[in-house]
């Protein structure tokens, strides 16, 4: 426990967390500090490319072990399954409409890639190795949760006027983040150590710094979101935003044990399960469930769960995974 607290404290005063806090405070104080949309997108493309490539190069270096397939299956099951738990919990903890509950649940089944990136850099700082293909697990977990949410709405008789067509499925499966993550994973896997050496001054050395600026922007966006949706969320939903990651990460831990992941890999799968989407799922929701209120799902995902994972969650998951998975 003392160890966890120490880790958490060490984590809290890292440049990346403080950058997030700076952004949050600036937005709450209504500063006009803004990172241009194009620059923010450019940074997220950089992070996805770098994390995918490094994952792939890791697989090339250590080979594909037998747990790979198992891990991907477990990841898929988690993403499919978590929305049902989320939906049930929200039934207890909120008064949202069926559609709002389903939309929120979809976010928690899917993943936040920045949370994942932050977790990898915490692991790196502590010298804990992890499987390169966890990046592939992240990609696998992006989409299934959306299907679960649509299914929940359909089953619950909640009728949405949204558009669920072939175009939507293509958009979900081929959305930019998934394609870039998987694509750069394969590039890394194919070009291996040679490839990594060529571009590591770009994707490895400045990585932490770019992550700082990106989290600064996340803080700004989260802070502005919180300010605008002030008062819209009750205590119940806010509690949900901190309970659900704990539930998710516990199931992630079980999944990691089942798949036979290393402690590092387990920490990452816990983080993925605990994290909530804030890019892919919201976009899909606008098309498929337009009645679902963005001010609810975005505030929960980005204003509550993201900071929770960043500050408390990741050190906790790391400590638990090293304790339970051994290593």
């Amino acid at each position: 426990m003392a160890e966890i607290l120490e880790l958490a404290a060490g984590n809290l005063i890292s440049p990346i967390i403080l950058s997030f806090v700076l952004g949050l405070l600036a937005a709450l104080a209504r500063s006009d500090l803004t990172i241009p949309e194009a620059v923010a997108k450019g940074m997220s493309i950089y992070l996805l490319f770098a994390i995918g490539f490094k994952g792939g190069a890791g697989v090339a270096a250590h080979g594909v072990d037998t747990t790979l397939v198992l891990t991907l299956i477990v990841a898929g099951i988690l993403s499919f399954g978590l929305p049902f738990i989320g939906f049930a919990l929200l039934g207890l903890m909120s008064k949202f409409s069926t559609i709002d509950k389903a939309a929120v649940a979809a976010h928690y089944g899917s993943i936040s890639i920045v949370t994942f990136v932050a977790a990898t850099s915490v692991l790196e700082a502590q010298g804990i190795a992890s499987e390169g293909y966890m990046v592939a697990a992240a990609a696998v977990m992006e989409a299934p949760a959306i299907l679960s949410a649509l299914w929940i709405v359909a089953r619950a008789g909640g009728k949405s006027s949204g558009t669920v067509d072939a175009g939507l499925y293509r958009e979900i499966l081929l959305n930019g983040s998934i394609v870039l993550l998987v694509g750069s994973f394969f590039i890394g896997a194919i070009t291996g150590k040679d490839g990594l050496d060529t571009i590591s001054p770009f994707i490895v050395a400045p990585f932490q710094g770019v992550l700082c600026l990106f989290l600064l922007d996340m803080g700004l966006v989260a802070g502005r979101g919180l300010r605008e949706s002030r008062g819209e969320l009750g205590l119940g939903p806010i509690a949900f935003g901190m309970l659900m990651p704990l539930v998710g990460s516990s199931l992630g831990l079980l999944g990691a044990l089942a798949a036979g992941l290393s402690p590092g890999g387990a920490a990452l799968l816990m983080t993925l399960s605990a994290s909530a989407s804030y890019i892919a799922v919201p976009a899909a929701m606008r098309v498929a469930l337009p009645e679902a209120r963005p001010s609810i799902y975005l505030t929960l995902s980005l204003g509550v769960t993201f900071p929770f994972n960043l500050t408390v969650g990741i050190p906790l998951y790391t400590a638990l995974s090293t304790a339970f998975v051994g290593g």
């Binding site: 949309e37 923010a40 006027s161 175009g167 979101g225 606008r286």
Partner: protein, 103 residues
């Protein structure tokens, strides 16, 4: 300079629906339109701004379509089918255009 009567239809719609709207327009035979970026806005569903936005890259766009008056109903029907379940607004203004053969 010779001008011809036309309608200027302006559709402000979520960016996520842009391609669905233009597909529907093309199916209705409308092949001329211009899409303008939108920086922010406010409506019944609240206020938003591209810069301070939670999901960057979503946001809205403005689709401007100059069309012969007699073809407008088709366009409105097609557009309305896409916009209807979603937020956004549709407005129409009387206009005149040069080079009518292009419309």
């Amino acid at each position: 300079m010779e001008t011809h009567k036309a309608k200027r239809v302006e559709i402000i719609i979520e960016a996520a629906l842009e391609s669905r709207l233009t597909d529907a327009m093309r199916k209705a035979g409308v092949t001329g339109y211009t899409i303008l970026p939108v920086k922010g806005g406010s409506g019944r569903s609240g206020q938003w701004a591209r810069a301070g936005q939670v999901t960057r890259g979503s946001g809205m766009v403005s689709v401007v379509c100059l069309i012969r008056p007699e073809r407008m109903e088709e366009l409105l029907d097609a557009a309305f089918a896409v916009v209807e379940p979603h937020i956004g607004v549709v407005s129409i203004t009387d206009a005149e255009v040069l080079r009518a053969e292009r419309f």
